[in-house]
């Protein structure tokens, strides 16, 4: 019972945290990019866009940062046996993440918010790039820790503890570099899709206001291209990861397809209705695709669940080494499906933007695209969430692949304690989520800085009814 609650708690606090993380990583980069364009070209439109999305970035990062604190201590709270076993190795990247990345992010974000009027424009621009660098470094080190759980390297087990033998091996873990490219690109794509949805909507809605319309059309063109490029690269990185998974975590690969028997030239099922283990009611299969994904060959062999289970029993002793098949199978498909939808959507955006000088994006011609882009803002969040569910559930029953079972890692706690903290996090996080979403919608409705209702550019004047009291001003 403690184990189940502790697993639920970890799932809740991590998944919730990861709604905000990709937006932070992606928007920091996008805002830095827009501010650079504004600075280099002296372009007021990019400047307004960077401020507009910068405001959303700050609302988002506030929740992202505070929910990250929970995770730094979650291992000690609920997973203390795990912490003792892995601390020698897992703790180091966590500490390095704090030292290299968190200090950089949080210090420079203070400088960026409060320093606009106190630093030179050049130095102020440098601060947002430092924030962006911090977010990317943070991803690198936390993924180094996670990749070690997927594929442990550079260690030996001494006296019931994993002990570090080679730190460079941990940073050179192939699984890390696959995961790092996939995750950071996905974060960029997330922010891109968010910007695309908001820009298309505002360009469409703000048709009466020529200043706003022109700025948001530009934002939409830019973010459509950015989202399309990054999402394609996410797919490329994911494809490379599939081969690594086939090598290091064959059981996860088999679970992704619910492939029970080892096959040569294995096909890939796009969709299944009915039982995954016995004969399904209905299935669409693409011949040879699974072999291509897993080892880049037409007739390559893909290991089946039953064979792998038998091999694992021989290696690790009695027990089941099979993850929850329906969840792994479906989360993999939801992730890939959402990613493909993002490529199609942003491709549509690029095409629409080229038509009649952006006329396909807004006005009556852009009605359908605008609707799609707005709903499309959900896609990256779906893909990110199910991607992590696939990665983590597919690793089960291991917490560290081949070394430690999840059920051995849990803390010594009463059911009431874990239930209480789980309930506490759910209540507080739900409230935070609702408030954050509401504030984000408000921020998305705000007029662009410096553009009045009639479309004229106003110089620093007050800007309409939605104006808010500036808070963090030095």
């Amino acid at each position: 019972m403690q184990l189940a609650l502790a697993r639920w708690e970890f799932a809740v606090v991590t998944v919730f945290h990861f709604f905000f993380v990709p937006v932070t990583i992606g928007l920091a980069f996008l805002v830095a990019l827009m501010q650079t364009l504004a600075y280099r070209r002296g372009d007021a439109e990019w400047d307004r866009l960077s401020r507009f999305f910068g405001r959303m970035f700050l609302i988002n990062i506030a929740v992202g940062v505070v929910t990250g604190i929970t995770l730094e201590f979650q291992f000690g709270l609920n997973w203390s046996a795990y912490s003792i076993f892995v601390g020698n190795i897992f703790g180091a990247p966590l500490a390095i993440e704090a030292l290299l990345a968190f200090f950089m992010e949080s210090t420079f974000i203070g400088l960026w918010i409060f320093g606009r009027d106190r630093l030179s424009p050049r130095l102020h621009l440098a601060t947002i790039w430092m924030v962006s660098l911090g977010t990317v470094l943070s991803a690198l080190f936390i993924l180094a820790a996670n990749s070690w759980m997927q594929h442990p390297v550079g260690y030996k087990v001494v006296g019931g503890k994993a002990v570090l033998t080679n730190f460079w091996a941990i940073l050179g873990n192939p699984v890390l570099w696959g995961a790092f490219s996939h995750t950071v690109l996905a974060a960029f794509a997330t922010a891109g899709a968010l910007m695309l949805g908001i820009s298309a909507w505002r360009a469409h809605r703000g048709a009466a206001n020529s200043g706003e319309r022109s700025a948001f059309l530009r934002g939409a063109r830019f973010s459509a291209a950015f989202t399309c490029a990054t999402t394609v690269l996410v797919a490329v990185a994911g494809d490379i990861q599939a081969r690594l998974m086939d090598t290091y975590q064959p059981m996860k690969m088999a679970a992704a397809e619910a492939l029970y028997h080892t096959e040569r030239g294995a096909s890939f099922s796009l969709i299944t209705i009915g039982n995954l283990k016995q004969k399904p009611v209905f299935q669409i299969r693409v011949p040879h695709l699974l072999s291509l994904i897993a080892n880049l060959s037409w007739n390559g062999t893909v290991q089946g669940i039953d064979n792998l289970q038998a091999a694992d029993v021989a290696k690790y002793g009695k027990g089941s080494y099979i993850p929850l098949i329906p969840l792994t199978y479906w989360s993999f498909r939801v992730m890939v499906g959402a990613g493909i939808a993002m490529i199609l959507l942003s491709g549509w955006g690029i095409w629409a933007a080229r038509r009649r000088g952006g006329g396909g994006l807004s006005g009556t011609g852009g009605k359908w695209f605008t609707r799609a882009a707005m709903w499309g803002m959900a896609l990256p969040f779906i893909a990110n969430t199910f991607g992590w569910i696939f990665t983590e559930v597919g690793r089960q029953p291991w917490v560290v692949w081949g070394l430690m079972l999840t059920r051995k890692g849990v803390s010594l706690l009463s059911v009431a304690d874990v239930a209480l903290t789980l309930a506490g996090f759910v209540v507080v996080y739900t409230a935070l989520g609702v408030i954050d979403a509401w504030l984000m919608v408000r921020a998305a409705r705000r007029p662009l800085d410096g553009i009045g209702a009639g479309g004229e550019v106003a110089e620093g004047g007050p800007i309409g009814a939605e104006a808010e009291v500036p808070g963090l001003i030095y």
């Binding site: 506030a62 929970t70 000690g76 203390s80 966590l94 921020a443 004047g461 007050p462």
Partner: protein
């Protein structure tokens, strides 16, 4: 002796330094949040209080995250037993730090007095509760808690609330409040700074009494001796130095010597953490029942390789962190002042216009005016 021979003790000391840095820095931003309702007369005052810590509080909090991460890496067993043991206490701190963190950003997103008041309360509670809990926890560290063999603590939240720990918790609350008041008198000007200086007297007296009692009580109430323990002189000396610094800081505040007062209260925080750390040594998690049940540095530490990596990384990157954090404080070094037009109770949206007073500030000598009206055009908040 090879250079990396005794990294265990080095890392014990470094984690102590991280905690000292954390409590020194976040101590004053907690303090400002706690005393803000007491020294603020209107919305402008509240904004001055929040803006005094706005650019730095997040960076301050990272010292805690780094202390946590370093403990995990250098002393996995300490990290595991401590947080598994002090489960609900840490959970409480996390919840309150979470709501505090968002309150800074959320407060000013909606122009409505009730909305702001709500987040002011959240900001206050989010600082008040951790300020007390850290004091309780640190007093428990030095006093020791009942442990089962292997360093298992199982007495729950009530077991942490020994009377001595409650006094310690109130002591840290008073000390951080004083630290925050002194910081406010250093960073603001006019009536607000004056009220902060005046309030420093009673708060300083309370901190003196509470911290003095904690030090005296811990010195008298002994725990089972640990082999290799430092003699009582060092921790007691540091404890007395902390108490003395509180007294000195309070009298500096009274004399209007704001910089010296802040130095003294800061020293008090550092000395108090030093007292806790030297008192715990050579244990990391001392037991009050049987000394042998406590965790020692040697038993809890990671293997040599991990500590070498951590030492190299810290030696290379910590100077950079100190440099750019120090630079932030330099950039925002000026006192904040009330703009002349901000005498009214509350600015209304859209009425401020270009409110940045700039050269029109009466207290012109290098001080900074905050705009009061609604002027989001130039800002990112």
């Amino acid at each position: 002796m090879e250079p990396f021979a005794n990294l265990n003790t080095t890392w014990f000391a470094l984690i102590g330094l991280l905690w000292a840095g954390y409590l020194f820095l976040e101590g004053f931003d907690f303090g400002v949040s706690i005393v803000a309702p007491l020294v603020s007369r209107d919305e402008t005052d509240k904004r001055l209080c929040l803006n005094a810590i706005g650019p730095v509080w997040d960076g301050n909090e990272v010292w805690l995250i780094t202390a946590g991460g370093a403990t995990f890496a250098a002393f996995p067993l300490w990290y595991a037993r401590l947080f598994n043991g002090f489960y609900l206490a840490l959970f409480l701190v996390l919840l309150f730090l979470i709501i505090r963190g968002v309150s800074f950003e959320f407060r000013n997103k909606v122009d409505d007095p009730r909305w702001r008041l709500t987040w002011d309360w959240v900001n206050f509670l989010g600082s008040f509760v951790p300020a007390v809990v850290w004091g309780v926890a640190f007093t428990d560290f030095v006093h020791g808690v009942p442990l089962f063999p292997g360093g298992h603590y199982q007495a729950g939240l009530p077991g942490l609330l020994h009377p001595i720990a409650i006094v310690g918790g109130l002591a840290s609350l008073a000390l951080f409040s004083l630290h925050g008041l002194v910081f406010l008198s250093l960073k603001t000007s006019g009536g607000l700074a004056e009220r902060a200086r005046r309030l420093a007297m009673p708060v300083g007296a309370a901190a003196l009494a509470l911290l003095g009692s904690t030090v005296a009580w811990v010195a008298v109430a002994s725990r089972p001796a640990v082999p290799g323990q430092l003699t009582g002189a060092l921790p007691l000396g540091l404890g007395i130095a902390a108490v003395a610094a509180v007294g000195v800081g309070t009298s500096f505040a009274r004399a209007g010597r704001d910089g010296w007062a802040f130095g003294a209260t800061g020293f008090a925080v550092l000395a108090a953490v030093g007292a806790v750390w030297s008192r715990m040594f050579p244990a990391v998690f001392p037991a009050s029942n049987h000394a042998a049940n406590g965790l020692t540095i040697a038993a809890a530490a990671s293997e040599h390789n991990t500590l070498v990596v951590m030492t190299v990384v810290a030696a290379i990157f910590m100077p950079f962190v100190l440099l750019y954090q120090g630079w932030t404080y330099w950039v925002f070094r000026q006192r904040l002042t009330r703009p002349p037009e901000a005498r009214s109770a509350r600015p209304s949206a859209g009425a401020g216009g270009p409110a940045r007073a700039g050269g029109a500030t009466p207290a012109g000598n290098g001080s900074e005016t905050i705009p009061t009206g609604s002027q989001p055009t130039a800002q990112h908040a």
